[in-house]
């Protein structure tokens, strides 16, 4: 099978990897780059646990082949806040509002909410619902996640615009 050399940016760091065409972006992140915050649930695009940002957009890393991400800028949960540093407002809000239980779905939800807030700092309730609709959570019933999303909007506004731009990370 053909092998392909790809170059992509992950959380600001440039990586060049030789991959088989069938390797998914999720497996590249987890197995090659050891970025295991990106979780794999269903592996066919339904559950949303593997959601990362591809060129600024929340997308499923399990239904994106690594070769398709050649040249792309990828952001994962690991890129949001360094160890010991201040959490991203979305992370902070999920903590404060107890927006998780087992936590398996959380990394994907965080990345989707990060994208939503970067696109629209004051998203409508409908937009939040639509965003969360792309994620399966079997623990919480979503009430606390919604509360956390609303809290993240408040915390982001408080932190001031420009603090959490993609370029800064």
């Amino acid at each position: 099978m053909s092998r392909h050399t790809i170059t992509l940016t992950v959380n600001g760091a440039l990586h060049t990897e030789e991959v088989e065409a069938r390797l998914t972006l999720a497996d590249l992140l987890r197995e090659r780059l050891d970025l295991t915050a990106t979780h794999l649930g269903c592996e066919h695009g339904v559950c949303g646990a593997c959601t990362v940002l591809v060129d600024g957009r929340a997308a499923r890393s399990c239904t994106t082949l690594a070769v398709q991400a050649d040249g792309a800028a990828i952001r994962t949960l690991e890129g949001l806040a360094a160890d010991g540093a201040e959490l991203h407002p979305v992370q902070q809000a999920l903590w404060e509002k107890h927006g998780m239980q087992c936590g398996f779905c959380t990394p994907g939800i965080v990345m989707s909410l990060v994208e939503l807030l970067e696109r629209d700092p004051q998203p409508s309730g409908e937009a939040i619902t639509e965003t969360l609709g792309g994620h399966l959570c079997r623990c919480t019933g979503y009430v606390k996640i919604r509360e956390a999303a609303l809290e993240a909007v408040r915390l982001s506004a408080q932190a001031g615009s420009g603090t959490h731009t993609p370029e800064a990370r």
Binding site: M1, S2, H4, E20, A21, R22, T24, D27, C42, E43, H44, G45, G48, T51, V54, R57, A58, A59, R60, C62, T63, T64, L65, V67, Q68, D70, S112, E130, T131, G133, G134
Partner: protein, 285 residues
């Protein structure tokens, strides 16, 4: 749940892509991958070669040509959905895209991919047949235009030759006094529709001048409700939803499976045809 071994090429021109497809009958076009990669992962598809259209310039443009809105095959569904041009000229495309999976999938999924994949539960194929869209295709013999009415042949099956590639879809723009709607019933938001309906209606002085109505998720391909459309012409707008409900299911052989019996689909189709036409009439007024 990992894709099988497969070769991959990312040509930079359409003709190179056509050449690769022509040279390998088990090659498959890769657009956004939001249907194909799951099919690979579930080992339901075993192509030899993936021909990725992602590096070909010019397939991701939205423009107007005469009375048509031309959406390039590689326009991401999310880009079409959030385009003011699409919303202004052919709102049914936006209304339908809102039902296509989740925003995180529409970020990668493409308009051309959805039209070419021919999922019977797909929203965009239904829009394409309802509006008589024209599907632009490049193949070994050059370019041709396929009327959407001639595209769908069955479950995940189109009339395109193996080496033909959809390059753009041309949707007729809305005229004065027209309104549209896409409605569906799915087990959960973003899931495949059990049944859905798209409608575009234009009214003059409270009377239907023209009506387009198509059903999806009901059979092995999207279906135009021709009898309902014919009866809707000259019907007072207030009576249009009832006419649509009464006639939309005529001559349809509804898909039947243990979870969703044909009778239930038939009932849903009547209800959704009524809702789609009611919403379209309201938007047209």
């Amino acid at each position: 749940m990992k894709p099988p071994p497969v070769d991959y090429a990312a040509p930079e021109t359409l003709d190179a892509a056509v050449g690769l497809l022509a040279g390998d009958l088990d090659a498959k076009v890769l657009a956004g991958g939001q249907s194909l990669v799951p099919l690979l992962s579930m080992r339901l598809a075993f192509p030899d070669l993936l021909v990725d259209l992602g590096r070909i310039a010019g397939l991701d443009e939205i423009r107007e040509s005469g009375r048509h809105l031309v959406i390039g095959a590689m326009v991401r569904q999310r880009d079409a959905e959030t385009s003011e041009q699409v919303a202004g000229r052919c709102p049914l495309v936006v209304q339908a895209l809102r039902h296509v999976a989740h925003p995180q999938i529409r970020a990668r999924g493409t308009v051309g991919g959805s039209v070419a994949h021919a999922d019977p539960a797909g929203e965009l194929p239904a829009v394409a047949i309802a509006l008589d869209a024209r599907v632009r295709v490049r193949g070994p013999e050059g370019d041709r235009v396929v009327p959407a009415a001639e595209l769908y042949r069955g479950m995940l099956t189109t009339s395109l030759a193996p080496a033909e590639i959809v390059t753009a879809v041309e949707f007729p723009v809305d005229g004065e006094g027209s309104g549209s709607a896409c409605v569906e019933v799915a087990p959960r938001a973003g899931d495949f529709a059990v049944c859905g309906a798209v409608a575009r209606v234009s009214t003059v002085g409270g009377v239907v001048a023209e009506a387009r109505l198509a059903l999806f998720g009901v059979a092995d391909r999207p279906l135009r409700a021709a009898a309902a459309e014919a009866a809707l012409r000259e019907t007072p707008a207030a009576e249009a939803p009832g006419v649509a409900a009464a006639l939309a299911t005529e001559d349809v052989a509804f898909a039947d499976d243990p979870q969703i019996p044909a009778g239930y689909r038939r009932q849903l189709a009547a209800v959704l045809a009524r809702r789609a036409v009611a919403q379209a009439v309201e938007a047209a007024a």
